[in-house]
Amino acid sequence: MAVAAVHAGGIADHIHPEPQGFVRRYVFSLDHKIIGIQYIITAFVFFMLSGLLAEAIRTQLLNANGGFIAPDTYNEVYSVHGSAMVWLVIIPLLTGGFGNLVFPLQIGARDVAFPWLNMLSFWIFPVAGLMLFSSFLMGAPTAGWMEYPPVSLQGAAGTSMWAAAIFLVGVSSTMTGINFVVTILKMRAPGMTFTRMPLFCWGQFATAPLLMIATTALAAALAALFIERQFGVPFYDPTKGGSPVMWQHMFWFYSHPAVYIMILPAFGIISEVLPTFARKPIFGYKLIAFSSMAIALAGFMVWAHHMFTSGLAPFLQLPFMILTFAIGVPTGIKIFSWTATLFGGKIHYTTAMLFAIGFVGLFTLGGITGIFLAAIPFDLHVHGTYFVVGHLHYVLVGGSMMAVFAGMYYWFPKMSGRLLNETLGKWHFWLFFIGFNGTFIPMHWLGVLGMPREVATYDPQFQFWNRFESVFSYLMAFAILIFFANVLWSIRNGKRSGPNPWGARTLEWQIPSPPHYYNFKHIPTVYGLPYDFSQPLPYKGLEEELTDSPPPVGVGAH
């Protein structure tokens, strides 16, 4: 891959003058770091909103005949909870938030390839989020985040609003995907070949094509649903010749790559945090990098393992089962490599490290129940039950959200120049860990015994475990409130962190935090993988970064 050769006045040297005025610096900013923080803040607002919905669900399930909210309101609550968490919290946080904030710094670029496209894709996201939550005013979607027709065809007006909102978020994801692919391919620092790129960038490089290709497949399905609901064009309505199973194909063809969009950046975060706090290089760099690509590619070929019970021809289900088992192997390699990274290290128990180790522990459990679900005979038993709900929360909350918390504690100093409070962080971790496990372990057992998914009332025999889960879910919610308090408190009076509080070796820690708007005064040249702590840093040209000499502004300014 030809590395962007350095010519006089090229992208590497071009520093545009500092943006002036409040609107240009903070509202419609072109700076990937500000856009990253905007993504993170908006995503955490939506995280709080759909977290409230989650607690409404748990309160409703406190007793077998419900009674907290009416059944149709309950259906709206869990549908918007699912949709908001997937499309408005985890995907934007991992791809838009951390993606924008960190990986351009790590590859030694001044900004992403198309800053205006970055700004545009951010500003679509809060609008789409408000559209999704406004669907409550007109009868929100009730058929879960999957919205299977024909039920979703009978839904209230909110289902069309849901389709439009998710279409918009899809457009924003596609634009981010294009932006990131071009940035990683073309704008790495000179000397940074692919095998010298930090693993978080590998995570983004594996995710960006998924963002770009898979999302448009969903856009077509949503457009067809919208047209059918508004103009009666029969795509999915069986009485007019359409086929509801077709929606499932088109939806899951997007949604399985989407779950890999939600976990590959999380793998990237963990592969950055673990070696830094174990003070030793990541174990098996090449294997982790290539297994991310393998997972991203295989993600396109397994979508029908969500449809083993929906009338798919029996012989057609076998390849999907075996391919899904096969994806377990690269994921296993990553988990073993992370565990091996801790071997022989000097481990510092910072909160980010606790979350990273917690991630490896919990995600592995989610991965194993995923293999259970991939086996057709067992899936015929537990499809559409709380076993599935347990599995997906283990990989999404125990996986992606733990990695997001690890990322927040790790990169908050780089964002704001201040450290998050460690004692509050420890409280947050331990209460979250206990609350999370208490909430989601019993779900596996309820699923096997016979509690179906998406139900407002259930068989009284499951009442004990449901109450057990609800109590622990309150504990988990309280832990997350501690996190928000920690962030709000630390912005003003957290300990000053300086450029490199963790002694990390990737490029973003060699420049002041928060970094200048132009990131690097002179783009460094990279001549090695930075992870070996016993070697000097493999970068050249970073001498002036920490001095306060003025940047060479205006060279080649257009």
């Binding site: 006089a8 992208i11 071009v182 704008m187 795509f235």
Partner: protein, 204 residues
């Protein structure tokens, strides 16, 4: 045509920064076309899935489409593809007037294709009462797919007419003409999509 050659032709008055950002913009635009292509292929999957899940095709009560007329319409569109290609080549070699004529020819042919589509739609809807939501999965898939393609062609025609105005106003110089390259790529993309749509709707 080698994509790289598009970006590395005569530099003219473009400075180093423009050359490097042009490569980025070219790659970004191509990836946009890829994602748009996935949008079409998802709808094509839906059409083919519906087609062989139901009864014979076209469904009873709907006649086969008029292949002859559509074939002529496609020739018009492919012709506009050719004129667009010549427009770009002439621009690169500096024959400015010929570039303008070929660009105008592309716009006329593109509009002609849209006219042909409009005629076929009115004939189908009012003549044979085959409507978008009224005639089952045939109406749904045919009108949605060809309609979406038609919208893309319409947007292409608008973009090219803006291109004509900009070229007349002298926006594009010897070295800086990415707008024209993007327009050509988009137009060829729209042609390729029509090749696929024409074959799956009219030929099989």
């Amino acid at each position: 045509m080698a994509v790289a050659s598009l970006a590395h032709d005569a530099h003219g008055d473009a400075d180093q920064l423009y050359i490097e950002t042009r490569e980025l913009r070219l790659q970004g635009f191509l990836l946009f076309l890829v994602s748009d292509c996935v949008l079409f292929s998802s709808f094509i999957f839906a059409y083919l899935y519906l087609r062989n899940s139901g009864q014979g095709w076209p469904p009873p009560g709907i006649h086969r489409l008029d292949v002859a007329f559509a074939a002529w319409n496609s020739v018009v569109l492919f012709g506009s593809g050719a004129t667009m290609h010549y427009a770009l080549e002439n621009y690169k070699h500096g024959h400015w007037m010929r570039y303008m004529w070929f660009l105008l020819a592309t716009i006329v042919l593109g509009a002609g294709f849209l006219g042909g589509q409009a005629y076929e739609y009115t004939h189908l809807i009012y003549g044979e009462h085959v409507t978008w939501s009224g005639s089952g999965i045939f109406g749904a898939s045919f009108f949605t797919l060809t309609g979406m393609h038609g919208l893309h062609v319409f947007f292409g025609v608008c973009y090219l007419s803006v291109l004509v105005l900009q070229s007349a106003a002298g926006v594009y110089t010897r070295g800086k003409y990415f707008g024209i390259t993007a327009g050509t790529l988009y137009w060829h993309f729209v042609d390729v999509i029509w090749v696929v749509l024409f074959s799956i709707f009219y030929l099989i």
